[in-house]
Symmetry: C2
């Protein structure tokens, strides 16, 4: 017994949605340079750049990001339409020590979950997790939500504006294995069912801030820094104030921290996110040959 | 026998010259908050922000950075004048794994070298080096060159736009020990002579770039990344191209690399800098009591 899906004829690999996350920028350029070297899948390689919601009216004076998001929705979507590409993989970096994560808006998209399991098996030396943001596809605003299937590949730690060879190489192998999987799938391989650990985001925690200025008054505690996906227990150290005091986690439920000290989230009031882990059973899948 | 120097009556500690290097920004704010708590030195605590050359005419439409640099030159200098503050310590962060470095334009400013040796002794767990940029004080354009004595404290690795507790704490202790040293000095302590290792910058190396687009075509080699101040030998790996090729160091002289993969230097065409190390004898010093 296996679940059938239509062939994944059009796959988009996108880099630069956040222009200072450089691994994806240089990887997409490199893939564009080598395009044609044995690529069996119809792969769109996109320089993207910042991507807010593609819906709503647009004026002549709209900012570049708005215009570009419209272009991308036309190129890769339109979102929710039969014309949308089959799979979008959007490449990101984080300053958090998260290893390689697939981030998706679904915990039951069997294509995404099978790709994740394939990457885990092919790259056993890279810490790898599947993160699920539990919002509806309609509410989701990310580039990968424009495709019929889609996810972000998020790799760190890498400072924004910097490219580190080890992180670039992990991303390169991740994308190659993802494209390999799509070729296997399209050519009729049956992928066995099994179990995958899924981290579902529960809530965000902001930095302690000064009441008047809203400036942060503490940094991530040194005992928590770089410990993404290590279970955070009630009363564990969370922050260290700039005067040296330790502030502790006051939640009642042990949860898994991630995006710990991500640069871009200071302005979003997120010092870290917390997830619940659970085991998801995924069915065997194969391409629909009818 | 000891060399005498006038009392260091006015000391400035500056943070934010590069606004996204956050340890100094938050440390100066914290010191301002605690100002008065037993500060025996007349310490100016400055929020600074970007600092180009303070000389030359200035127009009404000059950019903020130009105006701010004029203000700071008036506040802390004027550079080269008897009114200039006695000592400026300007706080910086780097994405390079450099530990704590004092960076100065002189290899014979005994005040700076003695402060360095004091920090080394007080903080034995922190890798610490003294970097000398061999340009005349007239040609130097940094904020610390405005004082009678001055240096930058550069600490990493920390992504720009992020504050890491361990880096913040190292900077805090570094500044406290520096101010302690000034108090000891002003109260008549004689500091014994001795030897200090000085790293004098010899040259910069740029990334390999595409001839037409000028885009970089390689990242720092994984075997060199995070190895600041480990001797680089001829034929050691230097870069790894985005297609996976290793490029090697073609210099004839073994030199010490630093500022390896510093974010802000991509646009300055600097992938890393190289230094020669030598041992400098520093004399005993004390305050001039006459």
């Amino acid at each position: 017994m296996s679940v059938c899906f239509p062939k994944l004829s059009r796959v988009a690999v996108c880099g630069g949605t956040h222009g200072n996350e450089l691994s994806g920028v240089y990887l997409v350029r490199e893939l564009q340079r080598c395009a044609g070297d044995g690529a069996h899948v119809n792969t769109l390689l996109c320089d993207t750049f910042v991507f807010p919601s593609p819906s709503g009216p647009i004026s002549d004076t709209a900012p570049y990001e708005m215009i570009r998001s419209r272009e991308l929705n036309a190129l890769l979507g339109p979102k929710g339409s039969p014309k949308a590409v089959d799979l979008i993989c959007d490449l990101h970096n984080t300053t958090a020590d998260m290893g390689l994560c697939l981030i998706a808006y679904s915990d039951h998209d069997w294509i995404c979950l099978h790709i994740f399991r394939h990457l885990q098996r092919q790259m056993p030396d890279i810490p790898m997790r599947y993160i699920h943001f539990d919002v509806s596809n309609k509410e989701s605003y990310s580039l990968d939500s424009v495709g019929k299937h889609g996810f972000a590949i998020e790799i760190g730690p890498q400072p924004h504006g910097v490219v580190r060879s080890n992180i670039y190489t992990a991303m390169k192998f991740g994308v190659q294995h993802m494209l390999d999987w799509v070729r296997f799938f399209n050519s009729g391989t049956i992928f066995e069912g099994g179990f995958v650990d899924v981290f579902t985001m529960v809530k965000h925690i902001d930095y302690p801030r000064d009441r008047e200025t809203r400036n942060i008054t503490a940094a991530i505690h040194p005992q928590l820094q770089d410990r993404d996906f290590s279970l955070l227990q009630p009363e564990d150290p969370l922050f260290q104030t700039f005067s040296g005091e330790t502030l502790r986690y006051k939640g009642k439920e042990p949860l898994y921290p991630f995006f710990i000290n991500e640069c871009a989230y200071y302005e979003k009031s997120i010092a870290l996110s917390l997830a619940r882990k659970r085991r998801v059973m995924i069915p065997a899948i194969r391409v629909d040959r009818t």
